[in-house]
């Protein structure tokens, strides 16, 4: 296999293999998500109406935090053992390598979040179609989070206090996804037909992020590792 698609597949497969050999990393993100979402009912009280009202937002904010915390690992180990430098030297376009890494990262963090979210939705008393909408919105939204977050992860590579700095850079940029992701779930409880524009916008964000974020991340990596 060669060409850009080949490179992409090789990177995705490599990162998946590496991560699955140390499976706990995947589970930590997932459990962080579940724990944060379970803390809110304990903090604000367990009234059904209140929880149904808060549910979409809380689950989305928890997903934002979980995917942000996982970002630190995106380039860190490759940077530590020098693999990243080798990747920068390869003749293949760096943005394709970056896209491969981000996709693998999303498969390990974003996808599990989206799949388990309906369970959390049940805890918040969401019903029927809303659960499906929540999973679908997270499926469209979490890749955008990974793509935007990759820029921040590349910029803060190897810095002291990188994790907290990363949140400062990345969280403001996550806002559109949060607004429309949580909005879709809220609207779906009233009228399912109204969900469509929210999904269309999330899809548009995904396409834009897919097109531009890998380029920006590649540029950021070249700045950080030189």
């Amino acid at each position: 296999m060669n060409g850009m698609l080949g490179t992409f597949v090789v990177i995705v497969r490599r990162d998946l293999t590496l991560a699955l050999r140390r499976g706990t990393d995947v589970l930590t993100t997932l459990f962080f998500f579940v724990i944060v979402a379970s803390l809110f009912p304990l903090g604000v009280g367990s009234e059904k109406e209140l929880l149904r009202f808060l549910g979409p937002g809380v689950v989305w904010v928890a997903a934002l935090l979980a995917s942000m915390l996982a970002l630190e690992r995106l380039f860190a180990s490759d940077y530590a053992d020098g693999t990243l430098e080798q990747m920068l030297l390869t003749p293949q376009p760096l943005s394709v390598l970056v896209l491969g890494k981000v996709v693998a990262h999303w498969l390990l963090t974003g996808l599990p979040l989206a799949l388990i979210a309906p369970l959390l939705g049940l805890q918040y008393g969401l019903e029927g179609a809303s659960l499906g909408v929540m999973a679908l919105a997270l499926l469209l939204g979490t890749p955008v989070l990974s793509l935007i977050g990759a820029i921040g992860a590349a910029l803060t590579l190897g810095l002291r206090g990188g994790g907290i700095l990363l949140s400062l850079l990345v969280l403001p940029l996550y806002i559109p996804v949060l607004v429309y992701g949580a909005g879709a779930v809220t609207v779906s409880a009233i009228d399912l037909a109204d969900v469509q524009p929210f999904m269309a916008l999330l899809g548009a964000f995904l396409i834009l992020a897919l097109a531009f974020a890998p380029l920006a991340t590649a540029a950021a990596l070249r700045i950080s590792v030189e």
């Binding site: 820029i151 990188g162 400062l168 850079l169 940029l173 429309y180 920006a216």
Partner: protein, 252 residues
């Protein structure tokens, strides 16, 4: 006469130019600021509007609007210098970007702060999750992120280029964030903050507002020139011209 456009793109020559321009900008900022405040306090009507008029407290408009404008424009300036730096690889552009950022952050904070003091008497609340207020808050976060990233990296070259990239990514995202909070259907979310109504504004108020905006611009020039001089001295501390310069200024 042939003018060399790149003469002042070297830190050594720009240091002198910034030093000559800084006092002028400071003087202009003070003069126009005093004029604008006088005009705003004494030459404008005491109350605004019809049935439910805004009384004296509306006068915060002069500072509020001027700093809100500056907060947005300075971010564009910051991103522009960052882009020029990344494209042409000129050191001075990054230094300018870094010098503009704190002033921009201060104006953003000032716009939020004065806005909340204006909101209390006129809306009855210090804060509201209104689209305009929220996007201004996010603009503040972007400034903070830029400054935090720049100060977290010790290597000056990497700090400059990394934060420049962040500024440009932020500039691309600002419209998206603005429109995502400013929801497309006005029936679904009411906005407290009125839209811009420059055309209906009283002439005296407009005069004071524009004069104060000009004063704030001059203030931004002054602080940026001042900061960029410091940055130049720090970064070029090992060069001979800095040592000669410092000896001439009779300083250290």
């Amino acid at each position: 006469m042939k003018f060399n456009w790149f003469r002042f793109s070297s830190p050594a020559t720009f240091y002198g130019l910034a030093g000559r321009l800084a006092p002028w900008s400071a003087a202009l900022a003070l003069l126009t600021g005093a004029l604008a405040l006088y005009w705003g306090f004494f030459e404008t009507p005491d109350r605004l509007g019809g049935s439910n008029p805004q009384k004296e407290y509306y006068r915060i408009i002069f500072i509020h609007v001027a700093s809100a404008w500056l907060s947005m424009w300075l971010y564009v300036v910051l991103a522009a210098w960052s882009a020029i730096g990344l494209v042409f690889n000129t050191r001075l552009s990054y230094m300018m970007a870094v010098s503009v950022a704190p002033t921009g952050a201060i104006f953003t904070f000032l716009a939020l702060f004065t806005g909340s003091f204006w909101g209390r008497p006129s809306w009855g609340t210090w804060w509201d999750w209104d689209p305009r207020l929220t996007s201004e808050l996010i603009l503040f976060f972007l400034y903070v992120g830029y400054l935090a990233l720049h100060s977290a990296i010790d290597d000056a070259r990497r700090a400059d280029r990394a934060s420049a990239l962040l500024a440009i990514v932020g500039l691309v995202c600002v419209p998206v964030i603005f429109w995502s909070i400013n929801c497309p259907d006005p029936n679904q979310c009411a906005a407290l903050h009125q839209r811009s109504s420059m055309s209906q504004i009283d002439g005296n108020i407009l005069f004071a507002m524009l004069t104060l905006t000009f004063s704030f611009w001059m203030y931004s020039f002054y602080t940026s020139f001042h900061r960029v001089r410091n940055i130049i001295l720090l970064r070029e501390a090992d060069t001979t011209w800095v040592n000669e310069q410092l000896a001439r200024e009779g300083g250290a």
